[in-house]
Each structure stands twice: as structure tokens, then as C-alpha cells.
């Protein structure tokens, strides 16, 4: 018999007119409440159709329909109902929506009802009513805290193979659909004088006070309805009801342009220097977001001052079987009745240790709900009208398999009484919501009069706390604290705010007598309902010396559930304090950390998903390359043409080989814009570059380019490039694509911090110029057709390593550099980027008669390996100039970054790695980058490792695969045959050690 049916039965027998007209099929719907307009909404839970009203949460709607069973617990799979009416809910977790929008572990208490809402229970099989895993409950005695640390150890192999798979399958709560989330998320940034966190009486009063003073105010609340507890209580403010006062306040705030009211917005964390993270749920209360609109927004709020007015959270009392569906917090029961016009059942009992619990009884009675008893742990409990009071009594047990049926009460007299009730409203007092005050490691302080922790002095900078969050529980105190807090915060900013006459409001003390758990009974009394942590577990932790609160938490998992212990931690440490014979403050609390409530991956990622994960940088010839059908590759954030397939080419190697051969035989063109370009000017530019580069630059003539190697201060080579001198006081430096930003940063460091009075100015021009390499025997002939005739680029007038400013295509300003990465007669020509597209077309057109080809990064790589030029794979951050065979370049005659430490013995060993080339002995064997080098014979091991291959490629010129890499004493081992081993892929080949300059070792071509 399902829970709903059981209730239906109970209602039928109680149908005595106490139910309201609006109730319809909603057996537990009452009259009144704040259900706006009463617009009916349809929804399903586990496939069953229900009706609720606009303004409902999933939890209130389910209760209204007589559904108390909403979930199963984590470990014992105990039947569970809703415990709370807010974001602290540990039990009523559901899978909301389906497909890519399926959302595990959504708290029914904060899920706003919308028409068509689809929810399913989780962590149960085959059904919520009949859960196979509930078998665990039978063995609970074996499954105590930390039992798994003591067993499952034999045989060792069984852990991964047997025990763990079972545990993993059983563990976890909700499930994901594995489909991509179809919704968009935004990020945004807000600034304010005062951020008010929480829109209850405290927060609203603070916002009104600050807003009236003209300050920039943001007030945020996680609820979709402002007002906090005012919506859950019956008492009024001034001569208005609480709700009416809230509406009035909200209207006034809305009328102020300097105030931003943000409902459905949770402040998730307090970060350094007044920065707060906030998540606004923009579309979670509708079936799906509007096209283009976000589901949620992550706001980063920069506040000058912040006031925490987050209210308080009620705490339960632990007693045997206190976890049955129907056992709820008293304040939650009251909230459901007063705000949502819902009672969890037609018969309710109350169990409390403070006066606040009595309000629940009074409000329910006023709404015609039968209150079967008020059980108060205090002998001197206040009188109750309309219900039986048991003073000095305790609830010692409950019954009801899938829902509470009655509670057993131990009376002051010592006798027991079974009290029938479908719901038990429990109040153990209230805990101020201090969480955000602890995000910067502040520790709360204990306040005896309310038996709770309150924020201490060590708050985050510029944060204040007011109202219930500060332990001031009465409405009057809250209004006062909100107003005064706002005035104080603003006065620190030099903004004068005034406190207008505060309205009259209830000012009742809470009168709580601490009572944490009922000692009677051999069964289990739950503290952490989601993680199934009971009083017994705490006792066991104490017995086994897990006594520090952190050990207690980690050993028992107390407070580690999705609610982070909002309703459970306090009880746990109170009991630990008692067992350890300490005061609660001595035991202390665990650390509250962000986020306040769980935050989706989606909103934290914002728009940075899929192709937009990071920006894309396109080269000037991108559009043209696309037209050519180029294959593109990611190089950092750049997209570069990798090769240009031609009709009939079925394998990328065919395209790359063609590009290489045609370049070496005639001419090829490559977009090299991505190389970093830094413009260096000033009287001391040359001297500055002398410091930056390992080799000398001071004497580089104007009109010349020089290759340069840059070291880190530790003597490791980290970048190379060229510097072209356009004038005595003007250089243009190129960097590798990967290090453009780093080199620019390091140069700025040297300029500002090391040599602050050198006359040097730096600026990046990487993007300003479209630069193309034109390489091959016909490069000059091609360029002569493009470069304006007044510029003589003959070998004599414009020799190797020359540079100059010229014009092309009839007057377009350009820069020409005669440098070569390919080893061919080659130039790099640069035009303003906007002309890059036209330039590549012009170059290709001019090259037609030579059969000019465009080549991509693959061919570029092949040609540089054929020339033995170091690139990223060789400049891997662990190689020195010595390793690269450029030791001689490091000038000993001058100071430069890195030269001193490059002389350390460990970097100058006689068996140091040296960059050399490798040719396969059997020409058919592929040389592979990442293979390790071993001597021709002997064992293959780490101990005998001789080095590794850094880069490899098929050389169409040599007709075989070749590689370059680092070999111990490599420079003195030319001609030696060694092994390149790749056990990772089960390969081993013989290679001959050769010069890394495979093609044109003498470098005649580039000078021709």
C-alpha cells in the first residue's frame, strides 16, 4: 500500500470539513498561505501525476498530496521524507528533469514547482516503496562507522575485483544522463557599496536603510520569495502581516534605482577583499530557458561592505527512529502551514526543548490541524491551548514503516504513552547561519543563552552580521540590527544613513534549554540523516579515539553529505563534548568552506564550453586557407594550416611530402604570423638585447638580422628567434609562437626591475603584421614580382640575414627579412595584417609560374628537422645551450640572463646530452619521437639509457624517416649505430648517429 494511499485513507476518515475548498485532491492542503493566485500546476513524481499551485516547492506540493516518502538514505536505504523547508534539506533529494537536463540530488524543498515538472526518486531499486538495498538496514549493526577500514583486505586482489565494485554501485545518490547539458550559463560582475546577504526582516530593513541613504545596494536571497521567516510565521510587523510588510518593503526597494534586488540568488562564498560569489537561478523555475537565455548566472560581486543576514537553521533532537517520513523540524512544519497552506499530515505532534516549538502547535491548531500532543523536554514548559502538553517528557521511539504512525513518549512520571501522529514537529533550538563568516577561516564563538555558535570577531574583512545570523532571534531585534548595521557599514564609507522609526514587532525570547539527544533506547538515533550517522557512531568514534571534531567527521562522515551538516553537525559535537567531558566550545567546530550550497559545473564554466572553451586566434591567411581546403591544427590558441590536401591525395603524408619537395625544388609559402614579434626601441636597445640573449647583439649592423638564444636565469635555454635591426635604436625581435607572451613578460621584468634606467621601450606587434615565409630556390624570383621595383633584393643588395622596410604591390608598406627556417633560399615578408589575405593571394598568383605551393605546419616541421633546428620539443625546459650544441654561443665576455648559472658542474658534465641526428639503419624503419636511446648491445633499462629522440619525421628528400634528439656525448658519436627503443609500443630499431643537419649541412642554399 503506497504512502499516498495510506494518507488518502486517513483523510477520508477525517473529512469533517476541516479541509478547504481549494484542496481538491490535495489531501493535506489547508486554507490561506501565500500560494499566489492559486494557479494550478501539473507535475509528476516517480511517474505518478500530481497537482500543485504556483508558489509551491516540489516538497510542499508532494506534502499537499499526502506524499511523505520522498527518498532513501545513503547507507541503510531507510525510507525518508522531507525534514526541512529550505536549502539545508538532507533527505528529500530527487532527480529533477530528464535527458541532458537531468539533475541529480535536487532538494525538493528548493525546487520551485512549474507546470510539467518531472521528478524521480533516487538511490533506490526497484522502487522507492520497495528498495532492495534496504537489506542494509538489517545489517546495520555490522555497517557501523568505519567498519570498512577493518575488513575487505583479503585477498588483496578482491578489493578492486569484488568488494569495491559492489560498494561503488551501491554508493552515490542521484545519477547523470551522460548527455551534454543543453543549457547556457552566464557569468557577470557587479559592484556595490553594501551587499546584503539574505532578505528576511534583517536584510530588508538593512537594504531599506541603505537604499534610502542613496548607497549602491545589492540584496540577495536564495529563496524566490523575499521575507525569510516572515513568510513562515503568523505574527505581523506594525499593523501589517509579515507578508504584507515584505511586499511593501519590496515595492519601495524596487522604486530605488540604486538598489538591486536579487531573489533566487545564493551567495556561495566570501572571498578575499570583499568579493562574493553568487549564483542566480534564472530559469530553474521554468520548463526550459528561453532561447539564448541562461539557466543560471555566476555573479562576482565586488562589495565595499557586506552584511550577512542569512538567518538561522533549526536543529533536530536525536531519538530512536527519529528519521521516519513525517518526522520534521518544527519550524519547517510551521512554514509549510503558514506559507504553503500545507500540513504534512492531519495529525501532528510537537517535540521541543524551547518556546519556538510551541508556535508550531499554535499555528497548526489555528489552521484546524489536530495536534495530538506537545512534548516538551522542560519540566517548566509553557501552557498550550488546544493540545495535550507533556512537560519534562521525551520521545523515545517511533513507528511506521514508510511513514510515521505514532511516537512513543516517556512521560515525566516515567510511564510511556504512544501518541498517534502522521507528523512529528521537532525543535532543538536554532543555529545562526554563520557559514560565510567562516569562509576566511574565522571561528564562531559559543553563546550560552541561545545554546548556539555565533560569529566571533574574526569576520572576513568589511563583513558585518546581523539578526538571527548573529543570534538575535526576535523580529524586533532583527529589524533593529538590520537598520543599525546598515548605518554603521555606510558610515565607514562616509555615507550618512538614518534609522527611520522601526515598526513594532514580536520580541519574544527563545527560551531554550539545551537537549541534544534522548539517551533511552537501544536502537539508532540519527544525527546525519543523509549519511546515516547515528549517536552510536559518535560513541564508537570516541571509543576508538577519533575525538577531534575533524576526526569525528572524517571517521563517521558526519556532516559530509550534500547538506554539509547544516542540521547534524551541532548534535554530533555536542555529544562528543559530553563523552569527552568537555564544554562544546572546547570541542570546537569543523571548518565551513565554500560553497554555501552546492553549485553546478555549468554555471562555474559559464560560456567557456565546447568550442568556446578558449578564444581562437586565426592567421591572416585563414580565410584563404579555408578556401584551399586546408586541414587546421591547434597551436596554442592559434589555428594554423597543417597541410593543404590536393585532389587525389588520400593520405596526409602525400600532401606533406609534396609540399616539402616542391618547396625545396622550387618555392613554397607559409603563414608564419604566429611567431611573436616584439618591437624594441631606445638608446639602450642594443645593450638591452645583449642582456636578454645569450649571444652578443651590441654590434649587429643596421639592416641585419641575427639568430638569438634566450636562457632562463638558471642557464636553461627557453626560447630562440631572431632580432632584426632597423635602426641604431630600433630592433624587431621574434619569439617562438609558444613563448611570445613569456618572452615579452620577461623583457618587461628586465626593463622595469633589473635595468630600470635603460632607455628601452617595448611593445608587441605580433598581430599587426601578416608575415609569410617564401622559401625555395625560386623564392627571390617570386618576390621580385611582388616587391616594388625600386627595391633591389638581389643577393648582393639584400644578402642572407638582411632586413629592410620596403613596399609591395605598388606601394603597400612591408618588411622583408632574409632568414630561413627551411634551409632554403628564403625570405619572410610582412605586410599590415589587413592586407595579409590579399598578400597570400598575390604571392600564390606570382608563384604560379614556379609551381609555388602553400605549406603548413607539418611540412614546416619536416624541413626544420631536416635542418636540425631546435624547436619546442628540443627547448623542453631542461636543455641548456650546451645540450643544444650552442654552448659556444653563450658569451663569457658579457653579462646576460643565465650565463653565470649555466656554468654549474651538473650542467657541464663530460657525458652531457648533445643534440644530434638519427637515421634508421634499415631505411624502412620509422624513427619515433619519444623513443629512448640504448647502446648497440647490452641490456635495455633506465640505467643504460643514453638519451631520447625529441622530433622525428619522414624526410621525402632523404627518402627515409629521420629524427633528432639528445644523446650522451652525442657530438662525439657520429657514425655509431645504436638502438632507439620504444617498449611502450613494442618497437626497437637500429639508428645511426649523424649530424642533425641532414640537408645542405654547409648551408649553401640559403646563401645562394
Amino acid at each position: 500500500m503506497t504512502d499516498a494511499v495510506m494518507n488518502a485513507g486517513r483523510v477520508a476518515f477525517q473529512a469533517d470539513g476541516s479541509t478547504g475548498a481549494r484542496k481538491g485532491v490535495q489531501v493535506n492542503r489547508l486554507d490561506g498561505g501565500l500560494i499566489k493566485g492559486g494557479k494550478p500546476l501539473n507535475f509528476t513524481f516517480d511517474g505518478k501525476r500530481f497537482k500543485g499551485f504556483e508558489g509551491d516547492t516540489l516538497a510542499s506540493a508532494l506534502l499537499a498530496n499526502g506524499v511523505r516518502l520522498m527518498g532513501r538514505s545513503f547507507k541503510y536505504h531507510r525510507p525518508r521524507g522531507v525534514l526541512t523547508s529550505g536549502s539545508e534539506e538532507p533527505n528529500a533529494l530527487v532527480e529533477l528533469r530528464s535527458g541532458g537536463r537531468q539533475e541529480p540530488n535536487t532538494r525538493a524543498t528548493v525546487a520551485e514547482l512549474y507546470d510539467g515538472l518531472e521528478a524521480n526518486s533516487q538511490n533506490r531499486w526497484p522502487s522507492l516503496q520497495h528498495d532492495f538495498m534496504a537489506i542494509n538496514d538489517r545489517f546495520s549493526n555490522f555497517l557501523t562507522a568505519g567498519f570498512y577500514y577493518k575488513t575487505f583486505m583479503w585477498p588483496a586482489a578482491f578489493w578492486e575485483k569484488l568488494y569495491e565494485p559492489i560498494i561503488r554501485k551501491a554508493a552515490g545518490l542521484g545519477s547523470i544522463s551522460f548527455e551534454a547539458d543543453p543549457d547556457a550559463y552566464d557569468k557577470g560582475f557587479l559592484h556595490c557599496d553594501l551587499l546584503v546577504i539574505g532578505a528576511g526582516p534583517t536584510g530588508l530593513m538593512a537594504a531599506l536603510t541603505a537604499g534610502r541613504a542613496g548607497a549602491q545596494v545589492i540584496i540577495a536571497d536564495e529563496d524566490f520569495l523575499l521575507g525569510g521567516r516572515l513568510n513562515a510565521e503568523t505574527f505581523g510587523i506594525g499593523d501589517l502581516t509579515g507578508a504584507a510588510w515584505v511586499e511593501q518593503a519590496q515595492a519601495e526597494l524596487a522604486s530605488m534605482p540604486n538598489v538591486r534586488v536579487m531573489p533566487r540568488t545564493t551567495i556561495i562564498g566570501a572571498f578575499d577583499h570583499g568579493i562574493y560569489g553568487a549564483v542566480e537561478r534564472v530559469s530553474d523555475h521554468v520548463l526550459a530557458p528561453e532561447a539564448g537565455k541562461p539557466r543560471q548566472i555566476l555573479w562576482r560581486i565586488y562589495s565595499k561592505r557586506a552584511m550577512l543576514a542569512a538567518g538561522a537553521t533549526e536543529r533536530p533532537i536525536a531519538f530512536e527512529n527519529n528519521d521516519r517520513p513525517g518526522v520534521m523540524l518544527a519550524g519547517a512544519v510551521r512554514a509549510y502551514a503558514n506559507r504553503w497552506a500545507v500540513t504534512p499530515d492531519q495529525t501532528v505532534a510537537v517535540f521541543t526543548n524551547n518556546d519556538d516549538g510551541h508556535r508550531t502547535a499554535a499555528d497548526l491548531i489555528a489552521k484546524g490541524v489536530k495536534v495530538t500532543a506537545v512534548i516538551d523536554t522542560r519540566a517548566a514548559a509553557p501552557k498550550v491551548e488546544g493540545a495535550e502538553l507533556f512537560a519534562g517528557a521525551q520521545v523515545v521511539d517511533t513507528k511506521g514503516r514508510l511513514g510515521l504512525e505514532w511516537a512513543r513518549v516517556r512521560l515525566a512520571s516515567g510511564t510511556t504513552r504512544d501518541v498517534p501522529c502522521g507528523a512529528l514537529a521537532v525543535s532543538g533550538g536554532w543555529n545562526p547561519n554563520v557559514h560565510l563568516t567562516c569562509h576566511q577561516r574565522g571561528r564562531p564563538a559559543w553563546r550560552e543563552d541561545i545554546a548556539a555558535f555565533v560569529p566571533a570577531g574574526d569576520l572576513p574583512q568589511h563583513m558585518s552580521v546581523a539578526g538571527a545570523a548573529n543570534g538575535d532571534f526576535s523580529t524586533a531585534a532583527a529589524l533593529r540590527a538590520g537598520a543599525e548595521g546598515a548605518v554603521a557599514a555606510l558610515s565607514e564609507l562616509g555615507i550618512e544613513a538614518k534609522i527611520s522609526d522601526l515598526p513594532e514587532a514580536e520580541d519574544a525570547p527563545i527560551n531554550v534549554t539545551p537537549f541534544w539527544y534522548v539517551k533511552e533506547g537501544k536502537g539508532r538515533a540519527w544525527l546525519d540523516q543523509q549519511n546515516d550517522v547515528t549517536v552510536k557512531d559518535v560513541k564508537l568514534a570516541h571509543q576508538e579515539n577519533f575525538r577531534s571534531v575533524e576526526h569525528l567527521k572524517r571517521y563517521t562522515t558526519l556532516g559530509m553529505a550534500t547538506d554539509q551538516g547544516k542540521t547534524s553537525n551541532m548534535g554530533g559535537l555536542a555529544i562528543m563534548a559530553e563523552l569527552a567531558g568537555k564544554q562544546i566550545p572546547e570541542v570546537g567546530t569543523t571548518m565551513f568552506r565554500p560553497p554555501y550550497t552546492p553549485v553546478s559545473f555549468g554555471v562555474m564554466a559559464g560560456r567557456s564550453v565546447g568550442e568556446d572553451f578558449r578564444p581562437t586566434r586565426k592567421t591572416p591567411s585563414h580565410k584563404w586557407a579555408e578556401e584551399q581546403g586546408a586541414v587546421f591544427v591547434e597551436v596554442g590558441q592559434w589555428l594554423r594550416a597543417q597541410w593543404f590536401p590536393r585532389a587525389g591525395e588520400t593520405h596526409w603524408r602525400q600532401s606533406v611530402d609534396r609540399e616539402v619537395l616542391q618547396t625545396r625544388n622550387s618555392v613554397g609559402i607559409c603563414d608564419v604570423t604566429t611567431l611573436g614579434k616584439i618591437d624594441v626601441q631606445g638608446k639602450d636597445a642594443a645593450e638591452f638585447l645583449n642582456k636578454m640573449y645569450a649571444n652578443a647583439f651590441a654590434k649587429l649592423p643596421v639592416g641585419k638580422v641575427r639568430y638569438g638564444l634566450m636562457l632562463r636565469e638558471d642557464g636553461i635555454a627557453y626560447d630562440d628567434g631572431t632580432a632584426a635591426r632597423f635602426a641604431e635604436d630600433h630592433f624587431v625581435v621574434t619569439t617562438t609562437t609558444a613563448n611570445a607572451v613569456l618572452v615579452y613578460r620577461n623583457m618587461e621584468f628586465a626593463r622595469q626591475c633589473l635595468f630600470p634606467d635603460m632607455d628601452v621601450q617595448l611593445i608587441s606587434t605580433t598581430e599587426a603584421w601578416a608575415q609569410f615565409a617564401v622559401a625555395g630556390p625560386n623564392a627571390r624570383k617570386l618576390l621580385q614580382k611582388v616587391v616594388d621595383p625600386e627595391f633591389d633584393i638581389s643577393n648582393e643588395a639584400f644578402p642572407f640575414m638582411g632586413c629592410g622596410e620596403i613596399t609591395v604591390a605598388g606601394g603597400c608598406r612591408a618588411r622583408l627579412f632574409r632568414i630561413s627556417f627551411s634551409g632554403e633560399l628564403a625570405y619572410e615578408i610582412a605586410v599590415p595584417t589587413r592586407y595579409g589575405d590579399a598578400m597570400i593571394r598575390k604571392l600564390m598568383e606570382a608563384g604560379e609560374e614556379f609551381g609555388a605551393v602553400p605549406y603548413g605546419t607539418e611540412a614546416l616541421g619536416v624541413m626544420r628537422i631536416e635542418k636540425g633546428h631546435a624547436a619546442g620539443n628540443e627547448l623542453n625546459g631542461t636543455t641548456s645551450a650546451l645540450n643544444l650544441g650552442m654552448g659556444g654561443m653563450v658569451s663569457k665576455k658579457k653579462d646576460c640572463i643565465g650565463n653565470t648559472l649555466s656554468e654549474r658542474e651538473g650542467m657541464n658534465r663530460e657525458d652531457a646530452l648533445k643534440l644530434v641526428g638519427f637515421k634508421p639503419v634499415n631505411a624502412a624503419d620509422p624513427v619515433q619521437a619519444g623513443a629512448h636511446l640504448m647502446n648497440a648491445s647490452g641490456e635495455v633499462s633506465a640505467a643504460t639509457d643514453q638519451g631520447y629522440i625529441t622530433s622525428a619525421a619522414y624526410s621525402p628528400v632523404l627518402g627515409c624517416s629521420i629524427g633528432i634528439g639528445f644523446l650522451k656525448r652525442g657530438d662525439s658519436r657520429k657514425g655509431e649505430v645504436i638502438r632507439a627503443v620504444n617498449p611502450l609500443e613494442g618497437r626497437e630499431i637500429q639508428v645511426e648517429v649523424v649530424s642533425a643537419h641532414f640537408v645542405d649541412p654547409e648551408g649553401e642554399r640559403l646563401r645562394g
Binding site: 613578460r745 618587461e748 621584468f749 622595469q752 633589473l754 635595468f755 630600470p756 635603460m758 653579462d895 656554468e903
Partner: protein, 95 residues
């Protein structure tokens, strides 16, 4: 964190790139007899206090100023911000 830039006022630390101990300004003389030891200490032995720390930040997504920020590494409170160039000059790095 918010870094109070001497020229631009409060800026989000996200705009900055962190380097570390401000003593990296004090690059030793390459011609000193014990230059190797001095460079070793300069590069590898950094201040790492739990408390006030003078450190280099680069406003890379901003005006490209290098700053010397005095920050408490326990509380993250920032006590002082200077232009690194001024600090370097004050420490005698002018030619």
C-alpha cells in the same frame, strides 16, 4: 583579491601574473668572485614567510607595470603596493 595599483587604483588580482619574492630585483653582479653562490641564493633561496611578504606582481592584463606588493600570506591582507621600477631604483639598480 584586490590589488590597489599605485596608478590605477583597485584592480582584481586576476589581471596580474605572480612572480614571487621581491628580492628577485636584487640580481647579483656577474663579475663578483662568488658570483655563482650569489646567483644560487638569488634564484633558489626565496623568502617564504607566514606573514608579511614583499612580492612581485605583473599587471599583464592591465598597464604592464611590475609591482612590489606587500601582502600577508596568512590573511591575504595587502599592506602596501609600489611600482617595482621605483623600488629597483631605490635599491640602486640605476646605471
Amino acid at each position: 583579491m584586490i590589488i590597489n595599483h599605485p596608478i590605477l587604483g583597485p584592480r582584481d588580482f586576476q589581471e596580474f601574473t605572480y612572480l614571487g619574492d621581491a628580492s628577485l630585483i636584487d640580481r647579483p653582479d656577474w663579475q663578483a668572485d662568488n658570483a655563482a653562490d650569489q646567483f644560487h641564493d638569488y634564484l633558489y633561496l626565496r623568502d617564504n614567510p607566514a606573514g608579511e611578504h614583499r612580492e612581485l606582481w605583473f599587471h599583464e592584463q592591465g598597464d604592464r607595470s611590475w609591482l612590489v606588493v606587500t601582502r600577508n600570506t596568512v590573511t591575504h591582507e595587502i599592506l602596501n603596493v609600489e611600482l617595482a621600477r621605483d623600488v629597483a631604483r631605490a635599491r640602486g639598480r640605476s646605471k
